[in-house]
Symmetry: C2
């Protein structure tokens, strides 16, 4: 078996895990949890064994030695397989086991701590997880600071300094836009007519919209879960989930558009390369750019609702006398919330800037875990002008740290910046702009397929952005978009 | 790892396959089929490798050598693991591969042949499959005739001669009951009021009924598929499926009762022994006894509908003026159909007797494949009094032979006999009889748990029946039941 056959076998195993994971979130009966954990653990052990085996190493070395460098895709695939192999094998088994235990205990402790608003009970776990993150960073290696190595796991070939610089450029204007947006939004708000918005009606509208943006239901589906997600079970098997709020159908609809954005990316990656880097998504920041593009740039636009509001009105009779303008204000409302997952487009990135700053200081050892609540609140007040009512609405709100996911948060904002930059670049093509303005999204999707999806993980995210848009990632288009949307 | 740990690991792998198989039938998008096949093939290769490995053999031998015979369950587990190991390893890999190809081609050819009513195009495949069955039988070994070895794969420790003798006892009286039942049924029939019977209503009734017979929804569920089935994804994860006929809700309801019968058995097998013979079902004939007991003995009884018909009438308003007596005649109607899967309780076993006789002659070499259609029709006429209109309604109707499943059919009738014998034995307890007569099924289920389910596969089916009912399997109770139901 060549390294490519091995990589495909690895993907078969991992995708079986994805299938079982999907079932666990959607349909699995409660009592089945213990056995499901045993199935998933068996599969992930087999995948790990394979991808860190001597045979894998030898096949990879043989392929590297035989590579003449003339085939760019082959070269990229080998480079990325090498990167993954090195990351996977640089951590000793005992550290992986220690981390697995620490995150398992950490997630449990976090859930309790959040429930009881008791940061002190979570603090020893967080200390251990930060220490583990630093230990991993040392083993992985980095150029400037340990946080680089953590970030690299989510957004490869991206430095902490580059992200910090993007956020420094973003922050002053973003703060000013957000403050004005919240004020204007409050003045214009007319509440959405009361529900219930029937689940059947929401499912109907969601499906029509997902089809209209190009999601292929012969190779995918939508189910219901507590927390929406998109997961790939195979090269032609992409599953989205959503949830339903009887009082506001737009919550489910934007959830579907967001997840469909992820799903369109997955459906656009070359299926024949499934399991190889050229058949995989490249990074979280690019993945999130696709979800945000469809959710916000498409889904919250005038053109979109000119087309879809009459359909929604037909499905939900209570919208009959609620004007389109009020509806548009509703879906573009801005307000300061202490909770990230409830934040709107105008205020979301302030939450990320806060987390990125604290994480970086934690990993650098400039901030002690015991001081996190105070640092959180101080930073929050600086960014939002008020202090969260308690740690449940502050430093205990997110699950990421308890899972050992330090280095993850910034990819949400990178996604927002990338989305704006890609959408602006696509619209420079007059045909795409015209079609998008009449809610015909086929040309836009084709451009994304050709400019982003088709490359899989063969280009580094920043290079992919540069090739697709003609410039390095920058906050320029994003700020222009927010200004246009919220202050025009 | 001991042999028991290995057996549990094997069950983890197989149950992952079951989970993917369930998804394939319920929710998987069409385009995902190719990749799903790759996942399933990878899993089944790993399971096969493990269960036929030298390490498995050595661990089994070590455990056998260490066994003092004082622990009956341990001894039974080792005996059954040995039986499975020998069956799995007696076939050379090249034969397994040849069979896999022959069944894959055979199923395809069968589907085409049935569609085109063209037995000749399927005949060469069937010849190959019969030859393979005989080849396997020779390798597995048998006492009296090759068919024994095939039957043993579905109903262990049961001889062809014993089944033939049961069927010889059954047949004359069954023919006479069936003929009268069809005549009486025709005279009494008042058609069920026209549909539509809403799917929502059917789902509601199905779920209430499944709960009432004791199916545990915290460890199971019901979904929708083209062909109803029951599958076990883990010790606390049993999934039933059904389909909906808008013109007759009883079709789905009896399907659910049938599958719930299988599911109650699976839920009653000791979960802590999952993967060991003591934590597995024993045979198809015992499994089918559980489904038939709940479907026919419980579900088609007066007591059941005294309780549930008012509920059905509330859910489906069109039943309001349809009397209970007509409804009971409807759910117990008998008629001669050429198609086995459409057959009712009074006529079903005639279809099985026909198939068992032909299969046995095919495997003995007493019947040539080219003569199957003529032999089928002659036997059918003898049993039913008419000839099927064509081979699609005759020897091409069932998928079993094309899958290489020779030896399977008789277990359906063994299930019917066992169901009647178990139900009669349970009702000898006056408390169970009284509770069952008021549609309270907890005592009956407890009896089945204690008399059948708890033993897993530690007893041979005939011994299990003898221990549970005090007598060897016999058609006596079944014939008494049919007489009472159809001729009283």
């Amino acid at each position: 078996m060549s390294i490519f056959e091995k990589a495909r076998e690895h993907a078969v195993i991992s995708s079986a895990s994805s299938a079982l994971g999907w079932d666990q979130e959607t349909y699995m009966p409660d009592a089945a949890a213990t056995h499901r954990a045993a199935q998933l653990s068996w599969l992930s052990s087999r995948a790990h064994e394979l991808a860190t085996s001597d045979a894998w190493k030898k096949d990879l070395e043989d392929a590297e030695a035989a590579n003449t460098g003339t085939d760019a895709k082959l070269t990229a695939n080998l480079r990325e397989l090498r990167r993954e192999f090195d990351r996977a094998t640089k951590l000793p088994v005992e550290l992986v086991a220690r981390e697995s235990e620490a995150t398992s205990l950490g997630m449990h402790a976090w859930a309790e701590a959040r429930k009881n608003n008791d940061f002190a009970s979570f603090a020893p776990h967080l200390s251990k997880l930060v220490a583990l993150a630093r230990e991993k960073a040392e083993l992985w290696g980095y150029e400037n600071e340990p946080y680089d190595a953590l970030l690299d796991g989510y957004e490869r070939a991206t430095s902490t300094a580059a992200v910090a610089s993007l956020f420094d450029d973003l922050r002053p204007q973003l703060s000013s836009i957000a403050a004005k947006a919240v004020e204007i939004s409050k003045a214009k708000a007319v509440p959405l007519p009361a529900g219930p918005y029937s689940i059947e009606g929401q499912m109907n509208l969601n499906r029509q919209v997902a089809e209209a943006v190009g999601f292929d239901f012969s190779a995918g589906r939508i189910d219901t879960t507590t927390h929406p997600f998109c997961t790939t079970l195979g090269p032609s098997d992409v599953r989205l989930t959503t949830r339903y709020n009887l009082e506001d159908f737009t919550s489910s609809l934007f959830g579907v558009l967001h997840e469909a954005g992820h799903g369109l990316y997955e459906q656009g990656i070359p299926g024949e390369d499934f399991g190889l880097p050229s058949g995989s998504s490249v990074s979280l920041g690019i993945h999130e750019s696709q979800s945000r593009l469809w959710e916000n740039h498409v889904g919250r636009s005038d053109a979109f609702w000119n087309q879809w509001y009459p359909v929604a009105q037909e499905i939900f009779p209570q919208l009959a006398s609620y004007p389109l303008e009020s509806f548009l204000n509703h879906v573009r409302r801005a307000e300061f919330s202490p909770i990230r997952v409830e934040a709107d487009e105008a205020t979301y990135d302030l939450h990320i800037i806060l987390r990125f700053g604290l994480e970086r200081r934690l990993v650098r050892g400039e901030l002690e875990v015991k001081d996190v609540p105070a640092a959180w609140n101080a930073s929050f007040e600086e960014l939002f002008g008020f202090v969260p009512p308690d740690d449940r609405h502050g430093c205990l709100q997110d699950i990421h740290w308890s899972m050992g996911g330090l280095g993850y948060f910034s990819t949400y904002s990178l996604g927002n910046l990338n989305a704006a930059q890609l959408f602006a670049a696509a619209r420079k093509n007059p045909e795409i702009a015209a079609a998008t303005d009449r809610a015909d999204y086929a040309p836009l999707l084709k451009w994304l397929r050709d400019s982003v999806h088709v490359f899989g993980a063969t280009l580094d995210p920043a290079d992919l952005m540069k090739q697709a848009t003609g410039k390095a990632p920058s906050p320029e288009d994003y700020l222009a978009h927010l200004t246009q949307r919220y202050l025009a």
